[in-house]
Amino acid sequence: MSIGEQYITIALFVIIGVIFPAVTIFVASLLRKPAKPEPQKYLTYECSVLPFGPAWVQHNVEYYMYALLFVIFDVETVFLYPWAMTYRSFGLFATIEVIIFIGVLALGLAYAWKKGALEWMRGWK
């Protein structure tokens, strides 16, 4: 099997992965009973009280901090995979380099830890 064939299959997965749920939802819309619209039905659910204010508000910055940290460490893992695939041909030298690389990133994690970037709601304590 050539490389191209695998990706044709993946492309088919993407196409059918979109069509299948879309068709299912469409078929369900044909099968169900006609809707009986009532204004209350279309209110946003808020435990039976009338919803107040929009939900699209500013969120805690903590979520953003985790996203930032994620970007750093995710790029790191991308660099580690080529090493894992080819360490046989580079031997001990590459392994020492990778250990230094991980050491630098562990230092980064320790710094983030010390600075309290991993603490939830640290501004509230």
Binding site: I3, G4, E5, Q6, Y7, I8, T9, I10, A11, L12, F13, I16, G17, F20, P21, A22, T24, I25, A28, S29, R32, K33, A35, K41, Y42, L43, T44, Y45, E46, P51, P54, A55, W56, H59, N60, Y63, Y66, A67, L69, F70, D74, T77, L80, Y81, W83, A84, M85, Y87, R88, T95, V98, I99, I102, L105, L109, W113, L118, E119, W120, M121
Partner: protein, 340 residues
């Protein structure tokens, strides 16, 4: 040339249909099994009205969901709201393409294997965020934000814990990874990666449970505080799509654990016996794989029946302060041991 392409497309289509069928059957069975197992842990009977042992319950549920009214809240972002269930299903389905349930029984044996799986699996966060934002509901949005933070945090230990295995095998393809686990010690003790990489197994297992959003990491839809999290506003078939996607994650996650750490379709004693049996060989392989998968699934249901939900800050600090250093240590240990 055109005929060649047509053949490839046809072969691909067979793979897609086979994967969707396999997943659908497992999901149908799982919805029943989950309710039954949890009920037994609670000392209840669980579903027992529709068919023998309530086995037809999933069919009844499906018919009910098909005919339910579809309510779109007035304030919702209609486009994002309607698109989210489709996206959720798509990114739940895609990882299954690169997981084999027997030697050669794989839809697309892509060279980047496990990397592809984690890449597309992590995109399902997007669907959750779309649903959360599109609903314009406070509970949904809180659940969605938590999901994003949680799956980002556990993505890194998940990917890092697989590096040891990739280094041992020297390939990313799931077929090669399973093939590397076919040997045994003295013919009875299997050379599975759980014995080579026990630390990685612990990290991977915890991270996979968190990525699936199951108890003890089910913050995305912690029903006692957020109603139902990101799919609070969904009803009918759109809700069903989210449930479908969630159970596909369950199946794919368990299949991934079996593939990476538990020897896939290999079992000592039995596997060498059926090696020359032709078609029967594949049947036995699939049976072994599915049996192992259901062991993992049962353990996860058991965990759900036993543990409680963790607080969001505990979940995140467990990922960053517990699993991440462990996963990094595992990479270093594996590197040193392999190089010596």
């Amino acid at each position: 040339m055109v005929e060649d392409l047509l053949m490839k497309v046809l072969r691909g289509l067979v793979g897609v249909v086979a994967v969707i069928l396999f997943l659908s059957l497992n999901v149908l069975f799982l919805t029943w099994m989950e309710r039954k197992v949890i009920a037994r842990i609670h000392v209840r009977y669980g579903p027992n009205r529709a068919g023998p042992y309530g086995l037809l319950q999933p069919i009844a549920d499906m018919l009910k969901l098909l005919t339910k009214e579809d309510i779109v809240p007035e304030k919702a972002d209609k486009l994002v709201y309607n698109l989210a269930p489709v996206v959720a299903f798509l990114f739940a389905l895609l990882p299954a393409a690169a997981i084999g349930i027997g030697s050669g029984l794989i839809a697309a044996d892509v060279g980047v294997g496990v990397l592809y799986i984690t890449a597309v699996a992590s995109l399902s966060t997007l669907a959750v965020l779309m649903a959360a934002w599109g609903s314009n509901n406070k509970y949904s949005l809180l659940g969605g934000m938590r999901t994003a933070a949680q799956s980002l945090s556990y993505e890194i230990p998940l990917v890092l814990s697989m590096i040891g295995i990739v280094a041992i095998v020297g390939s990313l393809s799931t077929q090669d990874i399973v093939a590397a686990q076919s040997q045994t010690w003295f013919g009875i003790i299997p050379k599975w990666f759980i014995f080579y990489q026990p630390l990685a197994f612990i990290v991977f297992f915890a991270a996979v449970v968190a990525e699936m959003g199951r108890i003890p990491f089910d913050l995305p839809e912690s029903e006692s505080e957020l109603v139902a999290g990101f799919h609070t506003e969904y009803s009918g078939m759109k809700f069903a799509m989210f449930m479908f996607a969630e159970y596909i994650h369950f199946v794919v996650g368990s299949a991934l654990v079996v593939t990476l750490f538990l020897g896939g379709w290999h079992l000592p004693v039995i596997s060498p016996m059926v090696e020359n049996l032709g078609m029967l060989k594949y049947l036995v392989q699939v049976a072994i794989f599915v049996a192992k998968m259901y062991v993992i699934i049962f353990v996860l249901m058991w965990v759900r029946g036993t543990l409680t939900r963790t607080k969001v800050d505990h979940v995140l600090s467990f990922g960053w302060k517990g699993l991440l250093p462990l996963a990094l240590a595992n990479v270093v240990i594996t590197g040193v041991v392999l190089s010596i």
